[in-house]
């Protein structure tokens, strides 16, 4: 490409992508800064007066500080379920890659099923209810683990293949049991893929709306996505508050994006170039 064409096509691409992909976010930001009356016009315009602080306080105070509860719940849900997913998923991925047997073929089959099949919602509610886990954060955590395991196992198995077996043998000869081998030798070596799994699954769980909608109803246990959904009908006429909420919920993924962009892309494109 000639330099002139390069700049021209680049300029055009920047223009189009800004209109298509940046303006919706700018709209969120601008609307979140307006007052109620101005935001109701739905226009893409510079705010006549700024109400960042007012809107923030009002959104946080709404419904007895529901948003704070929601952020707390979502944080607990994300941290605990991702931790469990990493440990259990890495254990499975490790053995799955190292030891072909009838169990590993069965496990591989179920990993695929878990990747493809949508969950059966009402029977799951029934099971949760009989276990006393319906409408509890504990139950929700286990659900996220169950649904996210397949993808994590896939990533871990692929990465374990790059760790030489000689390491296992050396550790075993030195007297390490399976648990020591896994937690002291293998898991530390898996660090790059652990970071990838943490980042990708955290974003997925933090943004999960459908599963909490089914398995975690009720005011006590709201997550951030459910709060946003509730506010959608509650703030029907107060777009400034609604979009302040959207803005707040967009900040955590933005932070993750700024710091872990590479790992996210690595995790999400895994398998794309296996050919």
């Amino acid at each position: 490409m000639s330099p002139q064409r390069r700049y021209l096509s680049g300029l055009l691409a920047i223009l189009v992508s800004t209109v298509v992909f940046v303006i919706p976010f700018a709209f969120i930001l601008l609307t979140a800064l307006k007052d109620k009356k101005e935001s109701a016009l739905r226009s893409f315009s510079w705010p006549a007066s700024f109400h960042l602080w007012d809107n923030l306080v009002q959104v946080i105070q709404a419904r007895d500080y529901m948003l704070l509860t929601a952020f707390l719940n979502s944080t607990i849900l994300t941290v605990v379920s991702v931790t469990l997913m990493v440990v259990f998923g890495a254990m499975v991925g490790f053995v799955l890659q190292r030891r072909p047997s009838i169990w590993t073929s069965i496990a591989s089959f179920f990993v695929l099923v878990g990747l493809i099949m949508p969950p059966a919602v009402v029977p799951t509610i029934w099971v949760l209810q009989s276990l006393g886990l319906f409408k509890t954060l504990h139950g929700m955590i286990l659900i996220e683990v169950a649904y996210g395991l397949s993808f994590s196992i896939l990533l871990f198995r692929a990465f374990v293949a790059t760790i030489p077996r000689e390491l296992d043998e050396a550790a075993t000869i030195d007297g390490a049991g399976p648990l020591q081998l896994f937690f002291r030798i293998i898991l530390p070596l898996l660090k790059p893929v652990v970071v990838t799994v943490i980042v990708v699954q955290s974003v997925a769980i933090f943004n999960d709306f459908t599963n909490p909608l089914y398995y975690l109803p009720g005011k006590q246990n709201v997550t951030v996505q459910l709060t946003l959904y509730n506010f959608q009908s509650m703030f029907d006429t107060s777009y400034n508050l609604l979009f302040m909420n959207v803005l707040l919920i967009t900040i955590p993924p933005l932070i993750v994006f700024l710091f872990f962009n590479r790992q996210i892309v690595a995790g999400m494109t895994a398998g794309a170039v296996k050919g």
Partner: protein, 302 residues
């Protein structure tokens, strides 16, 4: 062997350890229990409960009545058809646009990093948030999209209020949000193609179009397979975007199976809702399994 037997009289633990594998099958156990109890068992149970009238506490077996109803009620059938349309439109557009963006963003274009970030970021944003934002942007009279169209003299349609358009509008937003993922998958696929092939083709006199059809497209095939399968799986079970934008409306015109399942669940028809879930399984299995076998086989044949 004799040593082991001899030792087993005295200290048992030492020989046992030397026999034990460092890769014990019980490592599967924690994951397997959670998966089996909360995913596998409910899935199997759904096959039974889809044939019942069910209140969660007791059930009456009614055979295939739920399924008959599913295929007889026009709005339920509409949900079925809509699911297929939605999945086909979203994954088709993601493949085409993803490949286009992928090629653009692996070329020597200016501000490549900025463009990649901008296209990819919506993937990470809350679907409900995106749904709410676009519901406002797509407002028939005051929305930014139609106001901009009016500026250049085009009459904007009622994106979400026109029954014939609502489903497609949501599908477009789905593409807006998801095309970044398709793009990065294609970028990874295209970057892995050796540059020499393009050099050789150039020397042989192949123009850009020929290079695309004979090098990029066939060699980016694993990426295409991934994008097609991922977006079909996502499209068939899609719920949150549709629910946050139209609730399946106007009428039932943008209902998909996943939203039908939720509506029946809300109405307390647990058996019917579960039957919808089984229909969804069957549909996903019938589409994804043969497709992935076919796509992967042709890849091997190459």
């Amino acid at each position: 062997m004799t040593l082991a037997t001899a030792a087993s009289g005295g200290r048992v633990s030492v020989p046992k350890r030397s026999i034990r594998t460092p890769y014990p099958t019980w490592f599967f156990l924690p994951a397997a229990v959670i998966y089996a109890v909360l995913f596998l068992f409910p899935t199997l149970a759904s096959l039974f409960f889809s044939m019942t009238r069910w209140t969660l506490f007791n059930w009456t077996f009614i055979g295939f009545d739920n399924f008959v109803q599913f295929f007889k009620e026009p709005f339920l059938v509409q949900g079925l058809v809509n699911t297929l349309i939605y999945a086909a439109v979203t994954s088709g557009l993601k493949v085409v646009l993803g490949l286009l963006f992928g090629m653009l963003l692996t070329s020597e274009i200016w501000a490549r990093d900025y463009l990649r970030s901008v296209v990819f970021f919506p993937v990470l944003v809350s679907t409900v948030g995106v749904g709410i934002t676009f519901t406002v942007l797509m407002h028939p009279t005051q929305g930014l999209i139609n106001e901009s169209l009016a500026l250049i003299g085009l009459p904007g349609p009622g994106w979400l209020t026109n029954p014939r358009l609502a489903l497609l509008s949501v599908a477009l937003v789905d593409v807006w949000k998801g095309v970044g993922l398709a793009t990065v998958i294609y970028i990874a696929g295209i970057v892995s193609i050796p540059r020499d092939y393009y050099e050789a083709a150039r020397i042989d006199g192949a123009d850009a179009v020929q290079r695309f059809w004979n090098i990029t497209l066939p060699l980016a095939r694993p990426a295409t397979v991934t994008v097609v399968l991922l977006s079909l799986i996502g499209g068939l079970r899609s719920f949150d975007l549709i629910w946050s934008m139209t609730r399946g409306g106007p009428g039932f015109t943008s209902d998909v199976i996943a939203s039908v399942i939720y509506k029946q669940y809300q109405a307390g028809f647990y058996g019917l809702s579960t039957a919808g879930n089984v229909v969804l399984f069957v549909m996903v299995a019938l589409i994804i399994v043969p497709l992935s076998i076919a796509l992967n086989r042709r890849e091997v044949a190459r």
